[in-house]
């Protein structure tokens, strides 16, 4: 792609990242959540792949590393679920505690990020996982169809 496209894509990526993170971290207050935010960031990665070509992206987004991030996201998610096993698997043990423990007033309210118990943490885990996973899948498809060798 031309230099203009590359520069614009480079600048836009920052906004995409911020917006994605916002959607992930406000998943329990406004529409959005881990999957949606992760998909937004992954689409930013797709934009970079289109602008720079998959060979260029491969140099700083290694598949092994993406795979590692994805596994850690999934692990974080399931470990939070396991942490509730003192009562029951998937128990929302953080509601009422000091981390994200606030309980919003019933009915319509302005919204507070410091609520939701395990929900924001899970959103973060899922966001990490989806970002890394979708990027890895798209990168693999792009690399394979452009005929380049992938690393294991």
């Amino acid at each position: 792609m031309s230099k203009i496209v590359r520069t614009v894509a480079n600048q836009l990526m920052a906004f995409v990242l911020v917006f994605g993170l916002y959607v992930i971290m406000h998943g329990h207050v406004t529409p959005g959540g881990g999957f949606q935010g992760g998909a937004i960031i992954a689409s930013g990665v797709v934009m970079l792949i289109v602008a720079f070509g998959s060979g260029q992206i491969k140099k700083f987004l290694r598949e092994r590393r993406l795979s590692l991030v994805e596994s850690s996201g999934a692990l974080l998610f399931i470990l939070i679920a396991f942490a509730g096993i003192g009562t029951v698997f998937f128990y929302n043990f953080l509601v009422g505690s000091r981390i994200f423990g606030g309980i919003p007033p019933t009915g319509s309210n302005p919204g507070d990020v410091w609520t939701g118990g395990v929900i924001p943490v899970m959103n973060l885990a899922v966001g990490l996982k989806v970002t890394a996973g979708l990027s890895a899948a798209v990168l693999a498809l792009a690399l394979f169809s452009s005929g380049e060798e992938m690393e294991e």
Partner: protein, 118 residues
């Protein structure tokens, strides 16, 4: 009768979309078109699920600065969300298989590449 006919139109639209998808899946032989058929099928199911949860005059089920009014059903929306992610996953995997098949056989026609029809 006419009232239910018009009132239930969203369900019928979902069913018609499903018919289109099944038509593609049964009669088309191109592998990419089969992938498209599956995606349309999953969209039709998503549309059906979301219409199930609609309440007349309802608002989105989010309490942050919520206006007055009944909220639409949240569970179907969660189910739809799940199904969207599953559809993405499925089509990613199918596309990678299609690329592999294309590498091996040099063709996207299912008659050529598959030993048995179906």
């Amino acid at each position: 009768m006419t009232e239910t006919l018009i009132g239930n139109f969203p369900f019928v639209a979902a069913v018609v979309l499903m018919g289109i998808a099944l038509y593609i899946l049964i009669f088309r032989r191109n592998l990419i078109k089969i992938v498209m058929g599956i995606t349309i099928l999953s969209s039709s199911v998503n549309l059906f699920l979301v219409t199930l949860g609609y309440r007349a005059g309802g608002i989105a089920p989010i309490y942050t600065d919520a206006p007055e009014g009944p909220m639409v059903l949240p569970v179907v929306q969660a189910l739809t969300l799940t199904n969207i992610v599953i559809a993405v996953a499925t089509s990613a995997l199918i596309l990678s298989l299609v690329i592999r098949i294309y590498r091996h056989t040099g063709s996207l026609d299912s008659k050529k590449s598959r030993r048995m029809k179906g």
